[in-house]
Amino acid sequence: MKTENQKAWFFVLPVLILVAFNALVPIMTVVNYSVQETFGNNVFFWQGLDWFEQILRSDRFHAALGRQFLFTFLILIIEIPLGIIVALSMPRKGFWVPVCLVTMALPMLIPWNVVGSMWNIFTLPNIGLLGYFMNDVLGINYDMTQQPLSAWITIIVMDVWHWTSLVVLLSYAGLVSIPDAYYQAAKIDGASPWKVFRYIQLPKMKTVLTIAILLRFMDSFNIYTEPFVLTGGGPGNSTTLLSIDLVKIALGQFDLGPAAAMSLIYFAITLLVSWLFYTLMTKDDAK
């Protein structure tokens, strides 16, 4: 006979309270704002789903979302292959291993807003080292404060510089876990270097790469600090990514309702893409 016992709930209560205060309450506040209009003094008017409709129909949102997807797509397509290539060319044993690992970890240890400031000073035309070098030595017209293309190239290069290490370290961890016997067997089987990569290294890196792509997707899709410090979303709106736009609406214009609706849509998109990706990547293993 099955015994019913509700005592367990009592033990999960502390966790429930904790989660309530750090997740549920803030999210519910956002939900609250997203369906109401407020003019201050804690006076609220019911709006229903108007804000959601407004956001989903707004060209401004579409543009920011498009820029966001473009940014994430570009950094993924650069960072993932680049990270794998760097990991493959790192030594597996000896004196240089710790040197490489520490060097790789350094960019990730720098606070995000410091990265933004560093790159800002580094790339400023005429006074920044890179800006000066491009304009006055190479004669290439480069100004990330005035030209959208320069701004885009700069935020992409900055992200690659900051985060490729993560992909490198994860891939490297996958690579060093491959026993020597696999490489020896491949040699005896006469496999080419490409086949060694395709049939031994890549499959063994698959799990860590899945995690690397997921982490890079979520982080880059929610990125705020670095581009904000570097370009402030400009020139014009050219580098106004979703989160920058969101902050502009919420704190710049103080449109709390639309901002709340936008946050929830933003959250749903991140969640959906992550879930889809993870399900697709792990589907094979269950077979």
Binding site: P179, A181, Y182, K187, I188, D189, G190, K195, Y199, P203
Partner: protein
């Protein structure tokens, strides 16, 4: 298929070896007969895997040459030596099916599709893995994975030698004997030279026609399982092979006769050489408990089924005997007799009696 000759082979993992202690392999000269089933037996760290990797070409020897059918292959990479190797942990290509795994070595060598299909079918039948040809190799059990990695070696019909590096380590005990007899059967069918590396004497003695016993980078003895058991050339072989191993007893030689703990002991033949440390070697199977002989006390009796192992003590020297039934008890005073034809003298570890006429 080929005869393999190792000539003056030495290997050190250090860049500038100075003394014999720096060598993982010390001076190996050896001929492996074409189509033979060999076992390389020795404790962990004795250099047997090093020797195997030198033959397969994964390691380049510091000195010496390797010949396949009198052709020097010392400087050839593994894929050009036409060898196959099965590793301790099954190596399979996870993302491929069993069929693709088996076809892989042939595809890399540009063999045509119909020939590949034919060979894969043949090998699958031989290994009894036909029904799993289209499953993904990652989902197989360890013993089947090990079968597939064997299959990848056997699928090429031009292999000179198939080498096994402790292939049964990760296999469940009840499947070990099955896979082992499969191996033996495969050897009889494909007639390739096979070298089986192990530290397990049962595996070595059941698989091989010839067992090569190694210790500390040296070959101590090469012989059939019977030779190794009956007349070990070195106390190490005597001790390492057999369960329990040979009794190695301190002895002195006086006027050509051996003395053990104040008792004269008859040997199989005349003593050769002189000086050094001398020891008696006799297998527990050839010691009898009787009314007369060397006095001993029984310290422990263990019944192991078909026979019993009696551990006795002569003075303070332990001597083991194997008897058909445990007729004595702990603490009892007994007398031991050694069968002369099976009693040998060892000088500094090496045999020092002539063969009985």
């Amino acid at each position: 298929m080929a005869k393999i000759t190792l000539s003056n082979l030495r290997h050190s993992y250090l860049p500038n070896p100075s003394g014999p202690a720096d060598y993982a392999l010390k001076e190996i000269d050896l001929d492996w007969r074409d189509g033979g089933a060999y076992a390389l037996l020795g404790p962990s760290g004795c250099g047997k895997s090093t020797l195997l990797n030198i033959i397969s070409g994964l390691l380049n020897p510091s000195e010496g040459r390797i010949l396949f059918d009198d052709k020097d292959v010392t400087d050839l990479p593994p894929d050009q030596r036409n060898i196959a190797q099965v590793f301790q942990f099954p190596v399979i290509y996870d993302t491929m099916t069993v069929r693709q795994n088996l076809a892989f070595p042939l595809q890399n060598r540009g063999v045509n599709q119909s020939k590949i299909a034919e060979r894969v079918a043949e090998i699958a039948a031989m290994l009894e893995v036909e029904e799993m040809l289209d499953t993904r190799a990652a989902h197989l059990s360890p013993d089947n994975k090990q079968k597939i990695s064997m299959g990848r070696g056997l699928v090429r019909d031009d292999v000179n030698v198939v080498m096994f590096d402790e292939p049964l380590t990760v296999i469940d005990p009840h499947l070990k004997w099955k896979l082992r007899s499969k191996l033996k059967e495969l050897h009889q069918r494909v007639k390739a030279t096979m070298i089986y590396v192990t530290h397990d004497q049962t595996e070595a003695l059941t698989f091989a026609d010839q067992v090569v016993v190694m210790q500390e980078g040296e070959i101590v003895q090469i012989g059939t399982p019977v030779e190794l058991f009956e007349r070990p050339q070195h106390t190490f072989v005597g001790h390492f092979i057999g369960s329990p191993g040979m009794n190695i007893l301190p002895a002195t030689v006086e006027n050509g006769a051996a003395m053990f703990h104040g008792n004269a002991v008859a040997l199989e033949g005349n003593v050769t050489g002189s000086g050094g440390t001398t020891e008696l070697g006799i297998r527990p199977e050839f010691i009898k408990l009787s009314d007369a002989g060397i006095p001993a006390r029984v310290r422990k009796v263990s019944d192991v089924g078909r026979h019993a192992v009696v551990e006795t003590i002569v003075g303070d020297i332990p001597v083991k005997a194997v008897v058909d039934s445990a007729s004595v008890e702990q603490g009892e005073e007994v007398h031991l007799t050694f069968e002369p034809a099976q009693t040998r003298l060892y000088r500094d570890g090496w045999i020092a009696t002539e063969v009985a006429q």
